[in-house]
Amino acid sequence: MKYETVVGLEIHAELSTKTKIYCSCENSFGGSENTRCCPVCIGLPGTLPTLNKKVVEYGIKAGLAMNCEIAEYSKQDRKNYFYPDLPKAYQISQFDFPLCEHGFVIIDTENGQKKIGITRIHIEEDAGKFTHDPYRNLSRVDYNRGGVPLIEIVSEPDIRSSAEANAFLEAVRSILKCIGVSDCKMQEGSLRCDVNVSVRPEGQKEFGVRSECKNVNSFSGAVRAIDYERARQIEILESGAEVEQETRRWDDMAGKSFLLRSKEEAHDYRYFPEPDLMPMEISRGWVEEIRESLPELPHEKKARFMAEYGLPEYDSGLISVSDGFSKLLDDTVGCGAAPKEASNWILGEISKEINERCITSDDVPFGGQALAELIALINKGTISGSIAKQIVPDMFESDKSPEEIVKAKGLLQISDEGEIAKIIKEVFEANPKAIEDYKGGKTNVRGFLTGQVMRATKGKANPAVINKQLEIELGKL
């Protein structure tokens, strides 16, 4: 039987506000343990939380960027459970009146664009962080992360494959980064997700019984967890048994999920309105003010790159999801470069360099002016394309302009016909076998000879001039 996968995601994103959600302790990653804490965020009795206005603003901003309706009335609630990373024994979250509801995000799939519904976005506080000591059978808790503001983005079960889940996660990440509410650094845990998966026979209307996978810490982990769950559930159904509704823990190293809680043991959070915090009445004026402040969103950028720059959809898509790349493209084109040439360099050598250096597209140390200058140097014939590729690493290393690097390294292109003709003759003398072959009718040795000339000039010879002179010199044989 053929099965369809149904996936819903819950994404937690840490907001990049200066302070925590309910106290004025600094909100930043790392630092010595328990040095960014106060009586409020370690949950001492008698303390009073006060809501950070920026958290509400960022929540609304995320909601607007994902096409949500912003609540006129919203409140915070206590979610009660005992766990040592939660010092108050409850998490302040939102239950029945979330900040944002009924939105959607557009993703690109194999079969074109698809709308993924956003059920809700609410604000809440993060918990502390454990380190486990396997030798002494104890755990240590650092509450620096306790009280860091989060938004939880809950999707509708509109996702039908792990590939779509990945596309959705990428889309959400690019939006959150673009609007500047979260740095979305997976390695620092700024973006985490829970994955809800069920399967049903193709054509069946009702959803199957779902499992929820926690501890998914990367997009590729989400893909693996979904594929694993799909296979596990299909195996159960094929054996004639029924899938149980349960919470599972994803272990990425093992590539498996493990049972955490069955339906009977499911948490009973006993939500109730948080008495220490007043409800919010969000004025439409404030919402419109925030809407006005929204930057151009990734899908809008993509459409503009295609329409205004004439770039292919593929290039536009890849560049638009990165703020750093989008700005570099706009600036490079603004400095007079052809958009497609700029795009080729960004997605080619610059991307390669970023990967090798393990940095992100926001960390490119040079701007559009430098890239436009590099492209102009090639087009003017000052340097060859292969020399330009050699210069890119130098552009990451120093703040010299491409032209200065070319001069300092003596990489100017050799376009002098006489000089190149001389080098060609030397190459002929050094490769008598190739010349014999050529005379014998093997014209494809031309490529080899061109390569030898390039090698002799360390890549500095102008390919067009080599071509022309090689034609002349071969004709003389």
Binding site: N34, H132, R249, P273
Partner: protein, 95 residues
């Protein structure tokens, strides 16, 4: 009784409380009384009344996003029953 002994046991378990049989019986009675009292509302027509979400009528109490100094780690850990490497120590917990 609108509350059963089983429900009291469930709530006690969620609240990590150990109750004696006497306490369970007393709480079953008291909690039933509370629920019965609240059910008086069913006798009235409250369709047109908005639910009260909060005892206080104030809304929009916000704080500006400005950093203030945190406490020293030594002060934060002052009441920790056990501490190690600048952290609170708890029984090994892996979920």
């Amino acid at each position: 009784m609108s509350i059963t002994k089983k429900e009291v046991e469930h709530l006690a378990n969620l609240a990590r409380l150990t109750l004696s049989d006497d306490e369970k019986a007393r709480l079953t009675r008291e909690m039933s009384n509370i629920i019965d009292f609240a059910q008086k509302l069913d006798e009235t027509d409250y369709d047109s009344v908005k639910p009260t979400m909060h005892a206080n009528a104030k809304t929009n109490v916000f704080r500006e996003d400005e950093i203030k100094p945190s406490f020293k780690a030594s002060e934060i850990l002052q009441n920790a029953p056990q501490q190690d490497e600048g952290c609170f120590v708890v029984p090994r917990t892996v979920e």
